[in-house]
């Protein structure tokens, strides 16, 4: 500190926002020299969220005509370690503490490397002037940047040339903008309003629920926020992650294999009115939110409490255990019923092929009796049959006979006519569907055998804590 002030000022100007605050916290002399204002702390927090060790990786949003892709992959585990800065409580918080707008809208996203906003994390805008003058400088710079962005938009609009209209109506529409345009938009506009980002707790304390917003549901007493959609292999995996051992990917029938990537479930964050902590909606034992929306908290007889508060309030672990087990069994049962419908899917088609004079297999009535004889065909047609585990070998034997018949006794043309589309998939994957059905039955039995299995899992693992 024996150096001339201009040297010290010049050194401080070369720092990044994180080091600026670190240096101001070393001694009183540096503190007096730097005299950081709120803006410097905000800049530091926004720089921290871009560092991999604090904020996790910076998600990349690639927007093109009609498509929107993400890096890292849009999965719950891929996004687990990504934190965002809340400039209300000045903390880095997990992405689940923010609504969709605060994460996905361009001005609130983390800026990618090379963008204007990412450049601000490398060098502070500190100047050796009084706090009020600093604030004016900050405002002036922000106004200049806004003006530059507007100028760019004007220029882009002026130089815009609409793409040529396709000669044929079925011809693919050419893109309205090229890649360079999107890269420039990304560079200039991403993350420009991050200082306005607030976590849902700050928004709750600010009273945003009384003003109303698309992503804010529930009420002031029981606030609920619509969070992001993530793919899960099944409904019970979405509500009870890790409770049951998952079925290996290669054991899934081909029809299901895409579900893990494509079936998306919306997550909700809700604040427990008793302990005031934000938790995923499953902590409130609401299992089918994705279909009905969150229930009105005024309607239930009992207020919705999180699992722990429920236990503390009612002191009835058996009641909670039963409620949780019922929920888990209901979610498993949904998939079990789906598997059952797939398992019996093909039998009515086989029957149809043997029927009448026009049926492709109508001349093989003797084989029909061998394959379909004794089956509850009317119930199978209406999908009302419930297959017991002990009946499965009989059905498998009949299908095996059908396969032999189709491959050896039927001519190639008829076979090609019959073995098509979903039916072909059903014939080929029957063992896999049956295996899955058996496995889901085992899971149901496992849940029924231990009434406290789900309760212990919830209390020990705390899977819903945000």
């Amino acid at each position: 500190m024996q150096l001339p002030p201009e040297i010290l000022h010049h050194t401080v100007r070369q720092l990044d926002p994180i080091s600026l605050i670190a240096l101001s916290q070393t001694s009183r002399a540096w503190r007096a020299l730097i005299n950081p204002i709120h803006h410097d702390f905000v800049q530091r927090l926004l720089a921290l969220e871009l560092q991999p060790e604090h904020g996790g990786i910076v998600p990349r949003f690639t927007e093109r005509e009609g498509s929107f892709s993400f890096t890292p992959p849009w999965t719950i585990n891929g996004w687990k370690a990504i934190n965002y800065a809340c400039c209300g409580c000045m903390k880095l918080r997990t992405h689940m503490m923010f609504d969709n707008h605060a994460i996905l809208r361009r001005p609130y996203r983390k800026p990618p490397p090379g963008s204007v906003e990412a450049g601000k994390a490398a060098l502070t805008d500190w100047e050796p002037v009084e706090p009020s003058a600093r604030w004016r400088l900050v405002q002036k710079r922000a106004a200049q940047e806004e003006q530059e962005r507007r100028r760019w938009v004007k220029m882009a609009r002026r130089s815009y040339k609409p793409p040529a209209v396709p000669a044929h109506p079925f011809e693919r529409q050419p893109p309205t903008h090229d890649d360079a345009y999107y890269q420039e938009v990304e560079r200039l506009f991403t993350g420009t309003s991050r200082q306005k980002r607030r976590c849902i707790e700050c928004r709750r304390l600010r009273g945003d629920w009384s003003r109303g917003s698309l992503s804010l549901r529930g009420s002031e007493e029981f606030p609920v926020v619509v969070s992001r959609q993530f793919p899960f292999p099944s409904l019970w995996e979405r509500h009870f992650p890790g409770l049951l051992e998952p079925l290996p990917a290669d054991k899934y029938p081909r029809r299901w294999r895409g579900y893990g990537e494509s079936a998306k479930y919306t997550l909700y964050a809700a604040c427990c009115p008793s302990c005031n902590t934000w938790q995923e909606s499953s902590a409130f034992r609401q299992w089918i939110l994705h279909r009905r929306g969150f229930p009105d908290p005024q309607q239930p007889v009992r207020p919705l409490l999180c699992n722990r508060c429920h236990l503390d309030t009612y002191q009835d672990s058996a009641l909670l255990a039963q409620e949780l087990t019922n929920g888990a069994m209901m979610t498993v049962d949904l998939q079990r019923r789906h598997a059952l419908s797939c398992l019996i899917f093909g039998w009515p088609f086989i029957e149809q092929d043997f029927l009448g004079v026009k049926g492709p297999l109508s001349k093989y009535q003797a084989v029909r009796d061998e394959i379909l004889g004794g089956l509850p065909l009317a119930e199978l047609r209406e999908a009302k049959v419930v297959l017991k585990l002990e009946e499965l070998p009989d059905y498998r034997r009949r299908l095996q006979r059908y396969r032999e018949f189709i491959s050896k006794e039927v001519d190639e043309k008829t076979r090609a006519e019959i073995m098509q589309s979903w039916f072909k998939l059903w014939v080929e994957d029957y063992e896999l569907i049956e295996g899955m059905y058996r496995w889901l039955n085992e899971q149901t039995a496992k849940l029924a055998a231990d009434p406290y299995l789900v309760l212990n899992y919830v209390l020990e693992k705390g899977p819903y804590r945000i």
């Binding site: 150096l3 040297i7 070393t26």
Partner: protein, 192 residues
């Protein structure tokens, strides 16, 4: 005056100080020496060493001489000012292009790998002496380079390490137990 004239510099505050010989072109990086050269004739400077009136070691002075000698062909700050006045320009927006060009040249100096080698064996005390010598002699590029170097070495460092590097007595001290409690609180609050 001869362009290849050799000037002598000596630290007058230290009687046992060495006399350093520097090319005139290199020494002109210093605004102070340029002013001296304008006011004293050649014969006087041939007989007498230019006095350095600042309490620094010979090693630091040698380092500064080494730097100016290496970068003697770099445009001098005064040359840039002279160019501006010749062109009738001001330091305002009209000559932005020249300014940018000049900044580009200085950036080249800052990014040069030679400077990395130059600063590689320099400790905090030596860096401080180089900086105050550069400031005393008014060698702007070297001053900027030292500031940049200091900023680089304290960047991304925790407060304790910054204090060690800059030889600062930490005034906002906390006990290890308090530190652990704060860290726990941060982990609990920030990363929950």
């Amino acid at each position: 005056m001869a362009a290849n004239q050799t000037l002598r510099l000596q630290n007058m505050l230290n009687p046992e100080s060495r006399v350093f010989e520097v090319d005139r072109v290199a020494a002109e990086h210093s605004t102070v020496i340029r002013t001296i050269l304008e006011h004293f004739d050649e014969s006087y400077l041939a007989e007498n060493a230019i006095p350095i009136l600042i309490d620094v070691s010979d090693d630091a002075l040698a380092k500064v001489c080494e730097w100016v000698t290496h970068w003697k062909d770099l445009p001098k700050a005064a040359d840039v000012v002279a160019d501006y006045s010749k062109q009738g320009g001001t330091h305002g927006t009209a000559n932005k292009a020249e300014e940018t060009e000049e900044e580009g040249t200085e950036n080249d100096v800052i990014d040069s790998p030679w400077n990395v080698v130059f600063f590689s064996g320099v400790d905090a005390k030596m860096l401080y002496e180089i900086l105050i010598t550069a400031n005393y002699l008014d060698i702007k590029p070297l001053c900027n380079l030292c500031c940049e170097f200091i900023a680089t070495i304290i960047r991304d460092k925790p407060i304790e390490e910054v204090c060690n590097i800059l030889c600062i007595d930490m005034e906002f001290t906390i006990t290890p137990e308090q530190g652990a409690a704060i860290r726990d609180k941060i982990i609990r609050d920030y990363y929950r």
